[in-house]
Each structure stands twice: as C-alpha cells, then as structure tokens.
Symmetry: D2
Subunit: 331 residues, 4 copies
C-alpha cells in the first residue's frame, strides 16, 4: 500500500524534494544481475532539467547503491538506492500553507496530514521522487530484456512542433501540457490477469503515480469509442498471435497478446507559472493575488518519457517474475 508498488519486483519509495536524501528500496530483484552506479546515469540524464522548457534547478542526481549489490552483481537481497538533494532552495515555501498554489498539492497535503507535511518544494509530492522510479526502472529494464520500452513526447501545447510550443509558452510566461506515447516490444504472451490485475490496470496504476498525468489510453483508446467492431477487431495473422492491426494496443482481456504494447498519456501543464494568479488566501479568507515565482519547468511533459518507461519496465518486471518468464537467479 501507499509507498509500495509491485508484488514480485517490489519498490518502496521515500524522500522529499528538499530533504537530505530521497530514494527507493527494491525487493525481489533476481540475483546475479550486473549493476553499477554508472548504469543509472543515462536515464537520470534524460530526466534532468536544464533543457529549454525545464527548470534551471541543478542537481547532480548521483545515485548511491546502499545495499543489495556485491562485487558488481545483485545479491538477491533488497537494493537501496539513494540520491542527495544539493541545490534545494527552501526559503520560498513557508507561506504555502496559508496561501496554497493553484494546481499544486499544497492544499490537500496540508489537510491530509494536519499541517505536518513538509511543504518545501512540494515535499514528498515532488517530481524529484521520480528519481527513485527511474533507478528502479533501470534495474527493471535490465531484467526484462529483450523486452524493450521507448517513450516520446508526441505533442506539446496541442501541436506537434514541440520547440515552437515551448518558445511560445516561455514568451507568454505560461506553461503547457503534452502527450507522451510509450511503446513496448518483445513482450511475452500471456502476462496479466482478467481480474483485477489486467495489464492496463497495472500500467495505469503505476503511470498515475507520476505527477501531472491525467489520462491514459491503450491502443486506439478514446477513438475506439467511435469505431465499429468490424473495424476495431484485430485479425490474428500468425500462430504467435501477431495481428493485422493493433487497435487493442497489445492487450486482450487484460492479457498481453504478443503484439507491441502501445499507450499514450496526457500530461497537464506545469502548475507553477510566471504569472500572477488569483486564489484563496487561507489566512485572510479572501481571494488574493499570488505570484509563485521560483525555478520551474514550462512543459513538464518533456521530462515524462523516461519516467514512463521506468514505471512500465517495473510493471513488466513484476509480471514476468510472476509468470516465471524471468529466472530468480541470473547465471
């Protein structure tokens, strides 16, 4: 529950945006998988800020393997990976409990935890927690091979020319949403369950843990609703289950069918914008002007692909261990 996901490849996440460390514990990883701190760098780099449209906050994001690895291989014991927070700037956050930012979790966090939550940088609600997802995802990607997963931003602010969309948003001191598409190939047939752990159930469960995601569709998704059965049904064309079309997105009855998994998610626009907003000042009890300021992404969707790949890999690691498609000892 709560900060734990998965049953066979099981991750526990912890940390806050401005705490000293954040990280993840991974249980159930097979032994004998080669793993070094360098293995995480590529995916961590992909997540990083610093590109146009992303926050200038600079974090080294250097992973530290605390446990579960010996002589460069996983031991079969829980793997803990830590990240330090070094460039946190906490001075801006004191007023958030009185004056919660629109679109953010400030208000709900305060209410849910009775005002005891750490408000700095969103605390435990911060997108920085996705570093733990990426670390777990890197390990998951290793063990699910040759299954491979690739995600890309397909549009931002409603258009396909993403650079242009970002430029406009920066100019307007505003933020924009985006669409990210994820494709997984070489998936073993037969993963998932009819009730309640359909592949769509598990993927969406994981995906909606990523901050800012508000929608998901598999295969033809929402357009299925306008289609006829004669068009939507994917004809099987070979004995391994390959189909002529892939409206199902690789899943029938909740189970992988041997075709690529395809899904798309909608990422809402970043809540923090460089504009004055009107919202409730809880201290005064009246509507008031709020300027959030700080260092923020213009289009958070740009940083989503690697996180989306990670949670998808985590789900598949879990499912493949369950269905005995991955060996517990990797010799």
């Amino acid at each position: 529950m709560s900060n734990i996901f998965g049953e066979f490849f099981q991750i526990s996440i912890f940390g806050e945006s401005h705490g000293e460390n954040l990280g993840v514990v991974i249980g159930g990883c097979p032994s004998g998988i080669g793993l070094s701190e360098d293995d995480f760098l590529k995916d961590i780099e992909r997540r990083k800020s610093g590109n146009p449209g992303t926050t200038p906050r600079k974090e080294e994001d250097k992973p530290k393997i605390v446990s579960g690895v010996y002589k460069g291989k996983t031991t079969g014991s829980p793997i803990c990976i830590l990240f330090e927070n070094t460039d946190a700037n906490s001075s801006d956050y004191d007023k958030l409990k009185e004056f919660p930012r629109p679109g953010h979790a400030d208000f709900v966090a305060m209410k849910k935890y009775g005002g005891f939550n750490d408000p700095r940088g969103g605390g435990h609600f911060s997108g920085r927690l996705t570093l733990g997802l990426i670390a777990a995802g890197v390990i998951a990607k290793k063990i699910i091979r040759p299954l491979n997963i690739s995600a890309n931003v397909t549009q931002a602010g409603g258009i396909a020319d993403i650079n242009k969309a970002i430029e406009t948003a920066i100019k307007e001191n505003d933020s924009i949403g985006g669409i990210v598409e994820c494709v997984a190939k070489n998936i073993p047939l037969g993963l998932g369950e009819p009730f309640f752990d359909s592949v769509e159930s598990l993927i969406s469960h994981a995906v909606f843990s990523i901050p800012a995601i508000k929608a998901i569709e598999f295969g033809s998704g929402f357009s299925s609703a306008s289609m006829k059965g004669s068009k939507h049904n994917d004809s099987i064309i070979s004995a391994d289950g390959k189909t002529h079309t892939n409206n199902a997105g690789g899943i029938n009855g909740g189970i992988t069918n041997g075709n690529p998994l395809i899904f798309r998610v909608a990422v809402k626009p970043t809540s923090s914008i460089q504009k004055i907003q009107t919202t409730l000042n809880l201290k005064t009890g009246t509507a008031d002007k709020l300027f959030v300021g700080g260092r923020h992404d213009v289009c958070i969707a740009l940083r989503v692909p690697v996180v989306l790949e990670s949670v998808t890999a985590i789900v598949f690691a879990d499912l493949m261990l369950k269905e005995q498609k991955i060996k517990r000892i990797n010799k």
Copy 2:
C-alpha cells in the same frame, strides 16, 4: 494479487460464464450495515441484458448471501455472494481454441493457461463476472454514504444520440463503442496517496478490470495536454477547497481535493459481431472465415455505467476505511 482487489475493503472474485455459480467474497466490511438480497436488485437490474443493443441472454441474476450477514446486518466477517448461471448455452464454444475470435481473449487465455481454460462464454474472462463487482459495489455504496456516484453513457458510435447509434449498428450487423462518464460527489478531502496509490491509480486499476475499457481520463484529461497552465489551474474559492473550475477532476497530487471526482472511460465496440470475419484458423494454420453468431450486445458500453459506479464505490470504501472516514462498527 490477481483475483483480489483492495486492502481494507477487499474483494475476491471467482467464477465462469457457464459454470454453475459465480460470485465474490468481501473482506473488511464494517459490521452493523443493513443488508438483504433485495438490496442488490436495483443495480443488478441496471446491468441486465434485454434492452435494445444488449444480448437477449436471459439470466435471473438472483444474488444469494452465503455468509457475513446475520439478522439482516453485516457481522464484520467475510461476505460471500453467489449468482447462478442458468441460461448458459455452451454448444457454440468448442471450436474457439482452434479458431480464436478476433478481439476476444480466446487466444491469450489458451496460451496463458496452456489450453486448460474454460472457453465457454469466455470462461473467467466473461463480462458476467461483473455481477460480483456490482454486488460488492452495492455494499460499498452503502458504507460510503453520503458520498454518491453516478455514471452515464454520453456517446455511442461517436454520436450523442445513442438510440440512433444503436439502431444503425443493429442494421449493419455491427457493434459500436461508447463513452461513459462517472461523477462522484461529497468526497472527503484527503483520500489517496502521492506514491503509489493516487486516487487516479486506484480508480484506473479497478476500472481497467472491467472488460472492454481501453482509456480513462480525469477532469480535463486529454484536453489538458493542449491547455495552458493559466487556464488549467483551478483557483480555490473557499476554505473547504472548492475550486472555480474543476480541470483537475477533483484530485491534486493524487489526493481528493473536496471537489467532485469526474472521469470518463472509452468502451471499445463489442468484439462479437454478426458479420463474417477473416482471422487465423490455428488448426489449419491459414486465414479463414469466421462467423461468431450467438447472442451478444451491440454496444457493451450501455451496460458499463453501473459497473463503473460499483468499482468506483469499492475504491472509495477502501480509501475511506483507510483514512478512518468510515467506522469499523456501524451503530
């Protein structure tokens, strides 16, 4: 895992379309809740076939409370509810393992279970299993009051005039998909978790257990991706968290924010159609003509609303028990 959902209000589902019985076991239900077999009838009736666009298969769908109720009240012990299958017609299903129906789970079920699955009427993959969800949902709806949930078909076959869409599809011997919208009101603030049990995570996990659902969006959903932050951010207008707009669909940071939960799902067109289809005959190894025949819904979306309400109620029962918003003993 698998056939179990929930942690505090926990349901286990079992049964097949053409087996003698199917049902559900519900653990964690508070004691002292009034419950009779009649209480289930209204929602079961809403799910029933027999309307234009639904299958003429006639089932009495009479629930039998097997355990967990004494003198008309829940005891706090597990509640088992059974349904009989009476109008099953199994003669049609023998060939499905050789000649799997496009769009159905026949092929994946055969592969996943090594050919041992019950193919009759889809076996455990059947939409009839949703009776168990409805039974659990009826109990959940009782305990989450005054939280109330309402779902409706908003379009079918791409148009809002649903009767017309059904008529056309029947005429064409085809099937159509649809959109169902669900709204929940009077939700306690503070339900859900940032990682990994966001309300979106839990609702979508449950929703994608319903056969034929291929997409879900919360609040502005996919259209968020085209919006600017200044437009998408919902300004708080009162101390209880009410917002001017509800683009977030009632959830910030995975947590309920005191506004109505709004989400929409896409239901794919029924896979069984009254048309000849071309697909692989596994026995001959070549493409072949298949006519499914049988008694089937034209638009399965018509039967989804009550099931959607049910799984949503189950999720809220779980979350409200966790957050101590429901008492374990109902005096």
Copy 3:
C-alpha cells in the same frame, strides 16, 4: 489481510458454523492440475467428528467445486469450493452474548463487531472453517509433490497413550489438550526469506489461524534454549545440505536447508466442557454458573493433524510458486 492468506497460492476463506455454506476461494493455482470432488474426501474424512473424543455432530462435509475446474483439470482461474452446513443446531446460542463462555471467542467477537457477530456455533470463529483450509490444502498437496507432509498427535493430556487420556477425560466430563508433530520431506532447498518471510514466520502465521493452537516450536525448539552451540549446530554431511543432526528443523536463516522440516504445536483443551463453570454474566454483572452443554470434542487436538498438514502445504505451495519450483502450467 484478514481472511486472505498467501501471495502466489492465495486463499480467501468465508462462512459461519451455522450459515448455509462455508468455503474458500483459491487464486494462483497453476492450470492443468487434475481435480475432482472425490479428491477432497480422504482429508475431509480425517478431520471428521464421530470418533471417540470428537463431537457427535454429523455433517456430510461434501465439497462442491464451484469454479476454476473444467473437464477435470484446474483452469488457472480462481477455484471456489463450498461446503453446506446441514446438521446445525442453533437454539443453544442465543444467550452467549450475555453470558460468554470461558475460553471461547464469544466475548471478544461481541466486542470487536459491536454485537453484530453471528454467535451460532462460534460463527466465523468456528473450527468448521478449517474445512476450507483442508480443501485448499488438498490442492496444495497435489502441486507441491513430491514434497509430502505428515502430522500426528504425539500426546494428549500430557501422556503418550492417547486412548487412555481420552477415556479419562470423558469420564471426568472434562477436556484435554495435546501435542501434534508435523514433518515435511523432499523440500526444495532455498525456500523462504531472511526478513520477513522466514519459513518459520509463514508456517507459524498459518498455523496460528487454526483454532486452539497456542505454541509452536521448530526442530529442537524450546529445548534449544538449554543447549550449547557445539551440540545444537548441525554439521553438513553432503553437498545437498543434509546434516548429521536436525536441531534446526530444516531451516537456517529462515530458509529451507534441504533437510526435513519438523515442528510441533500445542493444542489447548477444548473450551466447551460438560461441567458447570463460573464466569461473568454480562447481563446481571455478577459471577454466575454456566453449563455449556451441546456436542463437543473432548480433545480437539485429535482433529488438528490434517489441518496442520493443510496449512503447511498451503505455505509450501506459495513458497514454491514464488521460487519457481512449481510450473504455472502443469502439462
């Protein structure tokens, strides 16, 4: 939680002593296992009452397979097994909420569930619920082969001559406790976890679900506390882990070590006795004389062996599926 045990071979139990049915749902069972209702009879018979020292209540205890089996083989979908209660005599139980029986769960059940519990025959606390455990155990025993489990009463009322102990107790209108020993052989090496799912943890968790069990010891157990290390340490004598002695009871560091698992449990004397007892009458608020009467076992330990075997088999089915020692499809 609660009425669910296991993660891979997962059972949900439900029912009451005097309800219409009780039963179990089993998720995660591999497909392709031969299973008929007759397969359950032998172990059910072993549990039955009717022998000297057991209650004369006569129940047919005929299992009904409701789901998960098709053409005599498990399908991979959840298996539900039901038992009817036919010889229930409920007239005696009305006063138990006012005058709880010493040693029974009457008082705690009333308090825990706010008085809404079903008091008839102990309701959900009844030993009849162990029928569900036995049913699940029969299936578990099939899939863990050649691992085999055998349990026996080794003493009753403090002596090894069990018949004599029973006779004496009957004569005295009293009840007696007993010791049951369980041995499992042909166990794969490497099952279990250091934290928190040691084999001792899982076995004891399951065993203490059996009513009336108050103690468990593995290998040398309590006598280990008086031993020296030089005596207690089991020397390994062959490359497959066989040891000269078996003080560890087949487990090191929570993990099976290739030797037989040996454990013993203490079963308390049956709480219902044919003697007048003094206890609190909650209605009058004063100490009062209570005669329980009814039909009861003199030595409940006599019925424990088959239940002990069952829960042990369930634990091993779970562990062996996890460690991929059992195939998900049994061809």
Copy 4:
C-alpha cells in the same frame, strides 16, 4: 512480501552486515508524532554489544532520519532511517562459500542466490539488520501508547542465573541459548482476526524474522497441552474482559481480550563458537575441521529483548491503525 512487513504501519528493511549502510523505510506512520534521532538511542543502546556474553564488535549505531520528519514531527510521508556500518572486518568471510559454517545461513544463502549473496558477516542475514527493526519499533512504541511492552531474558543455558550461565559458556568456548519473555499491557480489546491474521499469527510472523528464534508460546503455551479444560479456561471477572487466570495469554479466537499479552520465545545458542567443528568442505567434498573465530556473542538471547519488544510494537501499531485505535493525524 519478503523484505516488507505490515499493512498499515508498513516497514521495508534493507542492508547487509558489512555494507556501507543498512536501514528501514516506514510507511503509514501517522503525522504529527514528535521524533528526533535521540529518541532511538535508548533502545539501540539496549541492543548493543559490549556486555559480557556479547561480541566486542563496536559500532556507533547512530541513526540518521533521512525522510518523513519535518520540524521534529512526522509528516505522514515514508520515514527512512539509516545506520552506518563502520567497524566491519570483512577479511574473514571469503572462504564461507566453500566451507559453510554449521548453524549459519551460509549454505542456504549460497544456494538460494546462486552464489551471488554477500557473505561478509552473514550479509543480509546478519543480526545487524535488527537495528532497522528497533528503529521502526521506537516509532511504533510511541504511537501505540499507553500500550506498553517489556521483554526480559528469563533463563540462559537452561538456568535462571544468567550471569553464571554466561561465565560457564565463556570458559568452555561454547555458546548457549535462552528464553525471553515478553509482556504487553493496556492492549485495546478486539485487535486481530480469526482467519488469518490472529494476533498469534502476526506476532509469530514478526518474531520468527528475528535471527535465532526457534519457538514461541502464548500464555500457558506448551503446558496447555497437558492441562484440562476446566483448569485452562480463564473465567471472565469484569465487564471489560479481565479474567481470573491468563492461560490464554491475552488472546481468544485470535483476538485480544483485554488482558495482558504474554509470550515466550526460545533463542538457540549462537552458531559461531570458539571451538573447532567438523563439517563439510564443499570445495574438497569431504568432512573437515573448521574454526570460525571472529568476534561473536556467547548468548545471543541477551540482545533479543529489545528486538522482541520492537517487532511486537510494530504488530500492534499495524493492528491499532487497522482497528482505528490510533488516529492518522496526531494533534
């Protein structure tokens, strides 16, 4: 599963004896609980080595709160606590995979993880991992107040004079086992479940995670097996459930009955002894002489009480959160 325990107060453990850090992540802790690093010191001190009969290995065992605490109070987000390993001496452990120590987990760890386990100091199987249990226990003890738990060694090497037993063992270069008794008072009535989460089930599950424990008994425990029902039954003497005797150890039907919980555990003698032992040399395939050497406890039971209290507190925190006896927000 595996490295996770609890459902509501949920702990994940990680680390190795000679790794850089070990620790624990605690999910589900209510917000608003005062917590500083100093709060852990007293219980950590109680566990420490350095007393007669315990290893001279010196570790500072300074806890570091990594997450979940803000301004001295728990936030409601996961709490991670780390400990450094500073006095590890790893040179002795290289040969253990060839020549496993009797009584230790060396052999099973090697087999279970295919030789990839970290053998230094027992790796993840080390008693040092109990530091994480103690850290979680300190927090649990705070939230379950006024419930309080106290454990003590009642005998070692078969006698009550523990100092004498230790002296003798040291003189003989041998090790000894012991008995530890644990008592919990002020327990709310009604915790626990009939199936499968009886209080005995949960306590024993947690207790058998502590290295070296081989037996547990509740209340009269093994002596119940020799008692008569007329003697064993505890008469209720007051409306809050207090009983005249406490043979049940505070539990009926798996549920707390308002009386103190009493249980005893057997701790086996330390496996590492200062004597030459004969066991299998896996490299040569023949019996060989092994001298373990190193720094080890003579009587590991001496360090068990605080760990036993900790896991008991963790179980009660879990149960009390479930039964709504602890508030999620501590104002």
